[in-house]
């Protein structure tokens, strides 16, 4: 038994514990390139480009369309398509659950937005991939939406722009995902035959089946600075050749040097670059 006892309740802190610290979380970001601390609002107002060193952060699909399309207005197509999990795929977690979580987190049904809008006064079909949705991977839904977008561009006789950001084909839909590469490429053959321009914008990262199909098939292939672009991912290559890859390997500048890109265009100039290219093709 205790010798003495507190008569009153224990001492109350005047400030509840969750408010005792100055809350900085969510306000600041650290740039992985220059390691400087950036105020998040600055980053957002600069289209996710580091104001200090111009490192390009990933840009979400909605922001991407806002960047490219006039008055930040567009009509989205096929937004209601969602995967039916054809393989009933389960690894450490069911694919259905991964889909559900991605849908909740991002408020969209798969890894791409396909839209119709106006770019510098010109009607375009513009697609933007969303890396946050299962690594921007392409399964049946992405393949179908891109194919429909291409067919729409042909029907409307307007240019096509696809902004890629993807780890490649979606493993959880197996060979169905693989076949999307052929399906989309076939539609692009028709767009090509119809004499319509297709501008492919490759952003960080664009690898695997997306690079090996529509991302590399643009009339113009343009990339953002520093974007990782390749067929095999760097880790797979390192495992194959059993040595470390040199700095800058598979980066946009490297691909430009090796002849696979028309240009590397910084994000703030992207819209103007596309607009003037379309002007050249279609004026």
């Amino acid at each position: 038994m205790a010798w003495f006892k507190r008569d009153k309740d224990s001492i109350q802190s005047p400030v509840p514990p969750e408010e005792r610290r100055v809350r900085t979380e969510g306000m600041w970001d650290k740039c992985p390139a220059c390691r400087k601390i950036i105020w998040r609002k600055d980053l957002e107002s600069n289209w996710q480009v580091c104001p200090k060193c111009e490192h390009h952060f990933k840009l979400g699909s909605a922001k991407r369309l806002e960047l490219l399309l006039d008055d930040a207005r567009w009509t989205e197509h096929d937004s209601e398509l969602t995967s039916s999990d054809p393989l009933h795929f389960t690894d450490t977690r069911p694919y259905k659950q991964r889909l559900r979580e991605a849908r909740q987190k991002l408020g969209m049904n798969d890894a791409i937005v396909t839209a119709e809008g106006v770019l510098s006064g010109r009607q375009v079909i513009c697609c933007a991939m969303e890396f946050g949705f299962i690594g921007g991977s392409m399964g049946a839904v992405v393949g179908e939406k891109v194919t429909r977008a291409i067919e729409l561009a042909i029907a409307r006789r307007c240019p096509l722009i696809i902004v890629s950001c993807s780890g490649g084909a979606r493993m959880m839909e197996g060979t169905i995902s693989l076949m999307q590469l052929a399906k989309v490429s076939g539609a692009l053959a028709r767009l090509d035959a119809a004499g319509l321009p297709y501008i492919s914008v490759l952003t960080d990262p664009t690898t695997g089946g997306v690079t090996a199909s529509y991302a590399m098939l643009g009339d113009l292939n343009i990339a953002e600075p520093g974007a990782l672009i390749g067929f095999a991912g760097p880790r797979v290559i390192e495992q194959t050749i059993r040595q470390k890859l040199p700095d800058g390997f598979q980066r946009a500048e490297f691909l430009l040097q090796h002849g696979f890109l028309d240009a590397v265009v910084p994000r703030p100039q992207l819209k103007n670059y596309i607009a003037s290219s379309l002007e050249f093709f279609l004026a």
Partner: protein, 317 residues
């Protein structure tokens, strides 16, 4: 391996019956004997029909399996191998050339693996580089120019994931093949003979008919690769092989391939000539069907064939 064990047990059964016949002389009636043999044949068929996806993967990779040049030997006469992509090099992981197939001039292109260590290295284990895919496209365009049908044989673990391949545009080479194959104005017949490894396989597998040998696989990623990414453990490959649905029956059910070509009992490696015969018969029939189509019809059907693939989504609207 578990499968070898079961296979041996079945072979032993056959021997047992033979011994039984010898031991009993005429005591065992002819009908009993026939019935026993029939039962064993049935058991064997069931065994090979029901091998697991992982076992089928092993068969697809069997080192004794016939490769493209073996099929050439069995199926073509006066074959001329053609080399080089006309811009960088000749890739020994893909071979191609023209020859006569059952009285018709055709262009044949396929992955080539090696038999021994030296050959395997020379063929880079059937993993093509951009120059291989560019060579394939060059030969296909040549075939189109002279209105010759194209036969492709697919057997690759995948496109080569190395530095040189990346530098020379592996992705671009594959992508271009996909687009161009979709509009080549001649029949294209694809047979997956072993491993259909992802983009590296698809790069010569866009066609009017896609056949698969009974013990072949066709996948977006190798079971090992899938296991190491999704389970973070490459030893879970057996599980991944099942989850990925890479067997001919699964793919036929999903509408991704057109025909399954039966193999000799136990696998193509036990009787390459019979396997080649079966592949050839399926190709001959398909060629006859496609020969009747106009070019416009052929291309429209090819487009629609792939256009329909993967209608596996729900419309929430």
């Amino acid at each position: 391996m578990d499968m070898d064990h079961q296979k041996r047990a079945l072979d032993n059964l056959e021997q047992d019956v033979e011994q039984l016949r010898k031991a009993t002389g005429d005591a065992l009636s002819r009908t009993d004997l026939e019935r026993l043999r029939g039962d064993i044949a049935q058991l064997k068929r069931e065994f090979y029909d029901n091998i697991s996806p992982w076992q089928r993967t092993q068969l697809a990779r069997h080192p004794g399996r016939p490769y493209t040049l073996d099929y050439v030997q069995h199926l073509l006469t006066s074959f001329h191998e053609l080399s080089g992509d006309r811009s960088f090099a000749d890739d020994p992981a893909i071979v191609g050339g023209f020859g006569w197939f059952r009285g018709r001039p055709v262009m044949l292109i396929g992955h080539q693996k090696g038999r021994d260590t030296k050959q395997r290295l020379a063929r880079n284990f059937g993993q093509a580089k951009p120059e291989g895919y560019r060579k394939a496209l060059r030969l296909m365009s040549l075939a189109a120019k002279f209105r010759r049908p194209i036969l492709t044989l697919v057997d690759t673990p995948g496109a080569y994931p190395g530095m040189d391949a990346e530098e020379r545009g592996q992705a671009e080479a594959i992508a271009r093949n996909l687009r161009e194959m979709m509009r080549l104005p001649v029949p294209i017949l694809v047979t997956i003979t072993g491993e259909g490894g992802s983009g590296g396989a698809l790069a010569i597998a866009v066609g009017d008919r896609v056949h698969m040998l009974e013990n072949s696989i066709y996948s977006v990623i190798s079971p090992e690769g899938c296991a190491s990414i999704m389970w973070r453990d490459a030893t879970k490959a057996e599980l991944a092989a099942g989850a990925l649905r890479i067997t001919p029956h699964d793919l036929e059910n999903m509408g991704l391939i057109d025909r399954i070509v039966p193999e000799p009992e136990g696998g193509a490696h036990l009787d390459p000539a019979a396997a080649a015969q079966a592949v050839g018969d399926a190709l001959e029939r398909a060629l006859a069907e496609l020969g009747a189509l106009s070019v416009a019809d052929l291309l429209e059907r090819r487009y629609q064939k792939f256009r329909r693939m993967g209608q596996f989504f729900a419309d929430l609207a």
